[in-house]
């Protein structure tokens, strides 16, 4: 991997670090809450993949859009969503982002351009293309970041949407988070190419293979792709190679992945790696690190308390919000 060339200030880099930690701790709280039966419905955790969401979202502007996936908590936090309302949504509470109607797989904050996590694999890809088309029609310079997993790249929607975006040179950054496993099927069993990014050639757009556990590498690539999109030069396909530490979801405890492989990827922990980079630059002292960790822990504690004490929705609420 190329040495990341980044213009991020020390403060900005520390913010990336803090954001990755917040995702990790949030997901740990989700797992613990599931054990306490506080989580309603499934939840797919993002632990191990934090560098991808944070590296991409840090390249976006406030009015840009993003679409997400069933494994979307990381994208939401990297976009700056409130962890209190996120956790309340996961607990099915009235104070959640979607009033308890969406749950873990549908967290959205339209006011922040977060158009929604998505329970259909590949479902968000045409929507991202459409949001970019809408930006073009409105003659705005907004960009859309579209997250999906490697499994989605075998859906027809991937092909149709990227082809359409490429023809119209739409401002989209397609971000494949290749965590190497669908629920139980390995990437090589399901996919005819060695790298998802190789598929970019089919649409005559740039394809980038990135160490998805290196937040600065992800960020640097994202900046380039976002600039290209905003300049009107069209979409890019970024493949962040990464790994999820946990089984597919909290409902799927049987994990077919080889333990050695899981251990190997855990040794490439994106947070520990970035901490080391910051320490080597003298950008993060032990005291600073402790302070950041403490602040993150306090936010999570507050979120758990908020979500746990939030009211459940009124039953009558079930029939509201069907039509605008």
């Amino acid at each position: 991997m190329a040495t990341p060339d980044t213009n991020l200030s020390t403060d900005q880099q520390l913010e990336l670090y803090r954001s990755m930690l917040l995702i990790r701790e949030f997901e740990q709280a989700v797992l613990a809450s599931h054990e306490k039966r506080l989580v309603q419905g499934p939840a797919h955790t993002y632990i191990g993949m934090e560098a991808s969401a944070v590296g991409i979202c840090s390249a976006l502007l406030d009015d840009d859009y993003l679409t997400s996936t069933h494994r979307g908590h990381g994208h939401c936090i990297a976009r700056g969503l409130d962890v209190k309302r996120m956790l309340a949504e996961i607990f099915g509470r009235a104070t959640g982002y979607c009033k308890g109607k969406g749950g873990s797989m549908h967290i959205a904050d339209v006011s922040r351009g977060m158009l929604g996590a998505d329970g259909i694999v590949g479902g968000g890809i045409p929507i991202a293309t459409g949001a970019a088309l809408g930006c073009r029609v409105r003659q705005s310079s907004q960009v859309v970041a579209c997250f999906f997993g490697e499994g989605a790249t075998n859906q027809g929607s991937f092909h149709e949407a990227i082809n359409l975006a490429a023809i119209r040179k739409l401002p989209v950054v397609f971000v494949c988070e290749n965590n190497h496993w669908a629920l139980s099927a390995g990437f090589e069993v399901t996919t005819a190419v060695a790298n998802v990014a190789d598929r970019a050639a089919a649409y005559s757009i740039p394809g980038h293979i990135v160490d998805g556990n290196d937040v600065l590498a992800v960020h640097t690539t994202a900046v380039e792709a976002v600039q290209r999109a905003r300049a009107g030069d069209g979409p890019s396909l970024i493949e962040n190679k990464t790994y999820r530490w946990e089984p597919h979801s909290v409902f799927n405890t049987k994990d077919p992945r080889p333990p050695d492989e899981v251990a190997e990827w855990k040794a490439r922990d994106p947070i520990a790696r970035f901490r080391k980079v910051l320490e080597e630059q003298d950008a993060l002292s032990a005291d600073q690190d402790a302070a950041i960790q403490k602040a993150v822990a306090a936010l999570i504690e507050e979120a758990v308390e908020f979500a746990t004490n939030s009211p459940e929705p009124e039953p009558a609420e079930a029939m509201a919000d069907i039509y605008a």
């Binding site: 459409g130 970019a132 029609v137």
Partner: protein, 325 residues
């Protein structure tokens, strides 16, 4: 002042007017720009509004629908075209799982002001994959609005209303109606959603008919009218939401109901109307409800076979005769 134009011209006028009025309205679909649409509904839009708002797409129905959803979320008002109602089945994930549900799933944050136009192309030998009338599929999905205009007047007023509606609308046109002419005012008008039309009044039998079947039902009403039978014909226009009050009121008056719908019989839209009337006006019925629908069979091509499957005037006349005993 009213003049006479075709159903296709009326739809085209609606698009021209709405694109002129609102720069966020744009059209997207296969063969809609250079060709002006397979049925000329998007004629001359490209010349007037340019390639950024009048967009020919690849043959990618799922991407067209998804792009419509995304563009609607991003603050525009897309009108997408499916050449045939049947082709919407290729885009069902975007229509059913996304367009219809995003508002609800986000707890009311998102709005999807998307119009999905499609033509029902029965009656011209297009066969099993180009002739279906799938309105019941869409009416079954919470979150969608379903509209079937039966005249040029309705086509224009309802399309304009659909474009201004903040919800996803499935707008089903009919191939055999595109060339028919009708009176359409010069000035701007919008029609209500929901809103049904009393096509003709009568005290003996209520006939509820949808889309192209309205003209079939009217023709049957004229036929039996020669013998003095007074048939009331109601066109719901908006299948979802449905103006049930007009239908119930009519059935309470006539005591007899025939429903004419072009979709297949089982779990079709006629069944829904029959169920509503059974729930709300059973005591007023003097005869069992009659459904006149397409058969439960894929559409054949040969004229004589297609005619056997589709509801026609004589089928409606027969049903009216049966409910009158």
């Amino acid at each position: 002042m009213a003049r006479t134009i075709t159903y296709s011209e009326a739809l085209n006028e609606a698009l021209h007017e709405e694109m002129q009025r609102d720069a966020n309205v744009f059209v997207l679909g296969e063969d809609i720009a250079v060709l002006g649409g397979l049925f000329q509904v998007t004629k001359d839009l490209l010349d007037k509004y340019g390639p950024e708002r009048v967009i020919d797409t690849p043959i990618s129905e799922a991407a067209i629908a998804g792009a419509g959803v995304g563009a609607a979320l991003a603050g525009t008002r897309p009108v997408i075209e499916f050449q045939f109602n049947d082709f919407m089945t290729i885009a069902m994930d975007q229509i059913v799982n996304h367009a219809a549900k995003l508002r609800y799933m986000t707890g009311g944050q998102a709005a999807v002001p998307l119009v999905m136009r499609a033509a029902i192309c029965s009656g011209i030998g297009m066969g099993a994959q180009h002739s279906q009338s799938l309105e019941a599929w869409f009416a079954h999905v919470p979150g969608l609005i379903v509209i079937m205009p039966s005249t040029p007047y309705a086509a224009k007023g309802l399309l304009k209303a659909a474009i201004r509606n903040p919800n996803p609308v499935v707008f089903l046109e009919s191939r055999l109606l595109y060339a028919i002419k009708g009176e359409v005012p010069e000035g701007e008008y919008l029609l209500d959603i929901p809103g049904s039309v009393m096509v003709r009044e009568g005290g003996d039998v209520t006939v509820v008919a949808t889309g192209r079947m309205v003209s079939v039902a009217t023709s049957a009403a004229e036929e039996v009218g020669r013998d003095g039978t007074e048939v009331e014909v109601i066109d719901p226009q908006t299948l979802k939401p449905l103006d049930t009050a007009t239908i119930i009121e009519s059935v309470k008056k006539t005591g007899r109901l025939v429903i004419v719908n072009e979709g297949s019989r089982t779990c079709g839209y006629a069944a829904e109307i029959a169920a509503i009337v059974s729930e709300q006006a059973l005591d007023f019925l003097d005869a069992p409800i009659e459904r006149v629908t397409a058969g439960d069979v894929p559409m054949p091509v040969a004229k004589v076979l297609e005619r056997a499957v589709l509801p026609g005037r004589d089928d409606v006349v027969g049903a009216i005769g049966r409910v009158l005993g």
